[in-house]
């Protein structure tokens, strides 16, 4: 990373693992769980959040000296809402069926706690370039979890990835199904999203004992 100094690179790398927004900071769970039944919406959601958080952090960081602190929440909400409207309109124009599938959850990026959290904790006190990196880093950390959850839920739940049958045809009994494998339809139901994230947290904290919480 010749482009980035060591300190800047840390801004991107840290949220991916040891300071992950979902599993460590507990931010942005709301929309993370509902759309991960399949891989494609998960990726679209991750990309949308990367765009909104990166741009939003820059805008807030540029305005940080002129926002009166009393009304900063409303200002922040308006900035995010504007960016989310852009994402929503783009999706409606170029991927209508996907935008229908994500229904209200694109709109709910506005109240995604990661975004407000990063505005408050980082963008209000740092310059635009560092804020941009911080935004991208955190959104990537969020996206990684989303994609992991989406991957396992779609693979185990419907035996497909991106809608392509990777494990064979469940009706005609080809591939894995020929030897008696069955889809675990439970994986596509909402409760499993919570349990999968719980398991990810379990694995991560067993690897890195420093993250273990006290009761």
């Amino acid at each position: 990373m010749g482009l980035l100094s060591k300190k800047d690179a840390k801004l991107i790398k840290d949220p991916l693992l040891d300071d992950n927004p979902i599993t460590i900071q507990v931010l942005g769970i709301c929309s993370a769980l509902a759309i991960t039944a399949q891989l494609k919406p998960s990726i679209v959601m991750a990309v949308s959040v990367i765009f909104v958080l990166g741009m939003g952090n820059v805008v807030i960081s540029l305005m940080r000296n002129i926002i009166p602190s009393k009304i900063r929440i409303i200002v922040q909400l308006i900035v995010v809402a504007t960016l989310v409207i852009i994402v929503d309109q783009v999706l409606k124009a170029f991927a209508y069926s996907l935008s229908k599938e994500l229904s209200v959850f694109i709109g709910l990026i506005i109240t995604n706690c990661i975004i407000m959290g990063r505005f408050e904790a980082f963008a209000l006190g740092n310059g635009p370039w560092r804020s941009f990196l911080d935004g991208i880093g955190n959104a990537l950390g969020y996206g990684v979890i989303l994609i992991i959850v989406g991957f396992f839920r779609e693979l185990l739940g419907s035996g497909t990835l991106f809608g392509i049958k990777v494990l064979g045809d469940s009706v005609e009994k080809t591939g894995l199904y020929a030897i008696g494998y069955e889809n675990n339809g439970f994986m596509v139901l909402p409760p499993m999203a919570l349990i999968v994230v719980g398991i990810i947290i379990w694995v991560q904290r067993s690897k890195n004992k420093a993250l273990i919480e006290e009761n």
């Binding site: 929440i73 409303i74 709910l108």
Partner: protein, 254 residues
């Protein structure tokens, strides 16, 4: 009347904000360590949802919907005659909804502080948190996407989904207070076990799905159709599993 009752129970149990749509998970996880604070936040959420959902319903009906502006030149009942018939401002809904919510929360905070300091002390710290609670914006967005017909139903919807959220956070807070005494594997402590318990509770709440049969829309907006068929098979299987589980539990109690 019947539709009111149906919507009431449906929003509390079947379409529970937390267990079916994961809305407001952030504050749900962060503020559920003690029952007393959970009750405070839950009450504040019920209150704000009850106020903002009907307000946003009026915004949606009279400003945002395609052709909604027809009332300006007196053609509310015959929108096609109006000069404003072609206006569609629905792309503005996010920004208008969130602005209403933020201002309402601020207003409520000021009013409560002025007139009832004791209520303010118990509720006040949660109010700013609520402006960014996904459950509040989610309530308004679902109200819009499900095309709720009357203001009364919108009020009902806001109130009952607030109650659903309240129930969820109080239940998890009670469980977390007790779980402190049990021997949870170290890496699962805190956040991990809360996730898994919430998952189990969500499975429990899914059994309410059969409570109101015959309603058109499915509880899962996210899943595509081929998966939905699979889901139906699965829910029946799952009900069997659950039935056996409850039997086991009752037997254990004996």
């Amino acid at each position: 009347m019947l539709e009111h009752i149906e919507l009431f129970f449906k929003s509390i149990f079947v379409d529970n904000m937390v267990f079916a749509y994961f809305l407001g998970m952030c504050s749900y996880l962060a503020v559920s360590k003690k029952v007393s604070t959970a009750v405070g936040l839950g009450a504040a959420v019920i209150f704000v949802l009850t106020v903002t959902v009907p307000l946003n319903w009026f915004l949606d009906q009279y400003i945002l919907q395609p052709g909604a502006l027809a009332w300006i030149d007196g053609n509310r009942d015959t929108p096609e005659l109006s000069v404003y018939a072609d206006y569609d401002l629905s792309f503005l809904s996010f920004i208008l909804f969130i602005a209403t919510i933020a201002t309402m929360v601020q207003l409520v905070e000021i009013i409560v502080e002025k007139f009832s300091p004791s209520l303010y002390n118990s509720l006040g710290i949660f109010l700013p948190l609520i402006a960014v609670n996904c459950a509040i914006l989610g309530g308004s967005l679902f109200m819009q996407s499900r095309e709720i017909e009357t203001a009364g139903l919108a009020l009902n919807y806001g109130f009952s989904s607030g109650i659903g959220w309240f129930l969820a956070i109080v239940a998890i807070a009670a469980i977390r207070e007790k779980i402190r005494y049990s021997n949870v594997p170290a890496p699962l402590r805190g956040l991990g076990i809360t996730f898994i318990i919430t998952g189990l509770m969500a499975i429990g709440f899914m059994s309410f799905g059969g409570m109101l049969t015959g309603s058109g829309d499915s509880a899962m907006p996210v899943v595509e159709e081929p998966v939905e068929k699979l889901e139906e098979q699965q829910t029946t299987k799952e009900k069997e599993v659950e039935a056996t589980q409850t039997v086991v539990v009752t037997e254990l109690k004996k």
